[in-house]
Symmetry: C2
Subunit: 344 residues, 2 copies
DNA sequence: TTGAAAGCGCTACCAA
DNA sequence: TTGGTAGCGCTTTCAA
């Protein structure tokens, strides 16, 4: 079976193609009568306009290109959900490309999609791009009138809308929370020391300690790069051998869980004598035993916000100023932190 | 800045548009000299053909539409990864739509994308569609020459390529494994009794018991529908109150973890006096404490296979027979099962 | 109120 | 070897 086109309808209704086009677009150039007749027939054959023809004609596709480093990561999945939902609500489709943290894949995909496939992009930088600091491909894209919105892993030097979280602040708050609940020897553990998220959290951690009057103890810090979770426990081991640890702030859930495992093995009670907070609120936290307290990054909201920014820009004719949206993080207290009594 | 078109190049090079088109397509109709000159110039301005124009001309988009119930689910994320990877390898893009298990969203999306946006679909049925058994929209899509490949949640009545796992068999093997490792009172727990996966696993569980000579004890079966994980523990409680449980087969990781939590609380040792196997190998299993043994469904392979089937069909001119691919599951033994000694 | 024609960017057929 | 033209499906301007 072949898809119905305007031509087919025109022939059937004994009118011209342009009449059909106008009738279906409810133009008042066309008489009520013919309009009705044509619309009726179109419905009966379930006519749907060919979106490619429309895109070519209008030079807009109502499609958003998404470049995301990885898809197995729960945070990204949440962002994607937020993007997809908001896009559909505004009658946009999404083309998703996974960069696998590769610079060249990011660049090639961006170029590929820049040729009529999408109206704009939502991007979180590939790890390699972040390290390389090479983001010229994005400037070029923007020059070609394809707006870009970046979220989470953003490039400061690119002038575009951004959606970020204040990770520095989040870590600081987490540390203070731990201090308020009585912790004195708070460790910091990162297996992704090369990434900006981790660096921001680390700075926040230190600042949090300073502001609460605790000292920064290098023996309580593991700030390194370990690429597979199977290495987390041995990475963390030293923290537990110097005697004084009573809490940990980890840059991801997996590291936090590994720390809890060691603590439990050593006979520590959670949260009575060992507290843990993990960065980003994913699936693991909810189902771990005990359930991990986390800093939530609100992925879905980030995705929705990024999409709104982009669509806004696409649909406004006048030049828009650059917008940076900060999405507040918040701490989800579960079973690995001692609730702080509200002091009056 | 405006994208370069063939017209622009033609003007610059003082040749006709069709000459440019042919030159860039390496047609030997064009002399080596002009061909080189044109190609050189095209490269210098970084010419990329407009994909919309190509799609309209060729009536093929090199785009695959993906309809997936949910994206926060690790299994689906894995499938998606497999799809995206294989698609890109064959120079296809993917448009992803999340149906949220809604029949109407599935139907509408399918119709929306059927108009020139994609060349074919890869689908896992929405829960609502599976329950309603209303899959007419897929027959219509196929009638319009848009091939469909279904995976995991498939509709038997639709004649299309499919990628499935033998869940019945998987459950049977899991039960036998538990029996071989010494378990005698194996429970079955499902919170998604309304879904076909769950029903297949349940049948496999019972068959496994029968084949190993154990009896089916209703007190060891919880087969119900609980929509939020917070209700899992109370759902499972009865299993632990009738005294004889020593293992569980759960239809998802979350239920398995909830069961482990109860068992640990009751002072049982895992796996010494309580074993657990969860269906589908996700993130939770790897990071739980102890690490959960699972039945792995190989999501990435399923995605890759589905994509190959689709692309194969798209790129072959002659009628292809319907193909059904069965992806073998296998048991990933971690710390919640007792390794079975190989008996000779 | 209706329709013819041009054009979005590209390819392919046919003529020169 | 090169170029003109038609056409993919649609919208829009202008003429009838």
């Amino acid at each position: 079976m072949k898809k119905t086109t305007l031509k087919d309808i025109a022939k059937q209704c004994n009118v011209s193609i342009s009449t059909v086009s106008k009738a279906l677009n409810n133009s008042d150039e066309i008489s009520e009568e013919t309009r009705f007749k044509i619309q009726e027939y179109a419905r009966s054959v379930n006519y749907k306009p060919n979106l490619n023809a429309l895109s070519l004609k209008n030079s807009r596709t109502r499609t958003i290109g998404i470049l995301i480093p990885d898809m197995l990561n729960y945070f990204h999945a949440q962002v994607l959900k937020g993007i997809e939902k908001t896009a559909i609500e505004h009658n946009y489709k999404v083309i998703i490309c996974i960069t696998n943290d590769s610079f060249s894949k990011e660049k090639e995909t961006l170029e590929m999609l820049s040729n009529g496939s999408v109206d704009g992009f939502i991007v979180s930088l590939a790890e390699e791009t972040e390290l390389k600091q090479d983001v010229g491909h994005f400037s070029k894209t923007i020059d070609f009138n394809l707006p870009v919105v970046m979220f989470d892993r953003v490039a400061n030097e690119i002038m575009c809308d951004k959606v970020i979280t204040n990770n520095f602040e989040a870590a600081k708050i987490a540390v203070k929370q731990l201090v308020n609940s009585g912790c004195k020897s708070i460790a910091f553990a990162s297996a992704i020391s090369h990434l900006k998220v981790s660096q921001d959290l680390y700075r926040g951690y230190k600042e949090g300690l300073l502001e609460t009057g605790l000292i920064i103890n290098d023996a309580l810090i593991v700030n390194t790069r370990v690429d597979h979770y199977s290495g987390y426990e041995s990475m963390l081991q030293p923290l537990f051998e110097q005697g004084s640890i009573d809490a940990i702030l980890a840059t991801n859930e997996e590291v936090a869980l590994a720390a809890m495992k060691i603590a439990l093995r050593k006979g520590m009670k959670i949260p009575e004598n060992f507290s843990a907070i993990g960065f980003t609120n994913g699936v693991l936290a909810r189902h771990s035993n005990p359930r991990l307290s986390t800093i939530s990054q609100h992925g879905e909201i980030m995705g929705a916000t990024a999409t709104s920014l982009l669509i806004n820009r696409l649909e406004s004719d006048n030049e828009q100023p650059i917008k940076i949206k900060l999405i507040e993080t918040h701490i989800v207290e579960r079973d690995t932190t001692i609730p702080v009594k509200v002091s009056s």
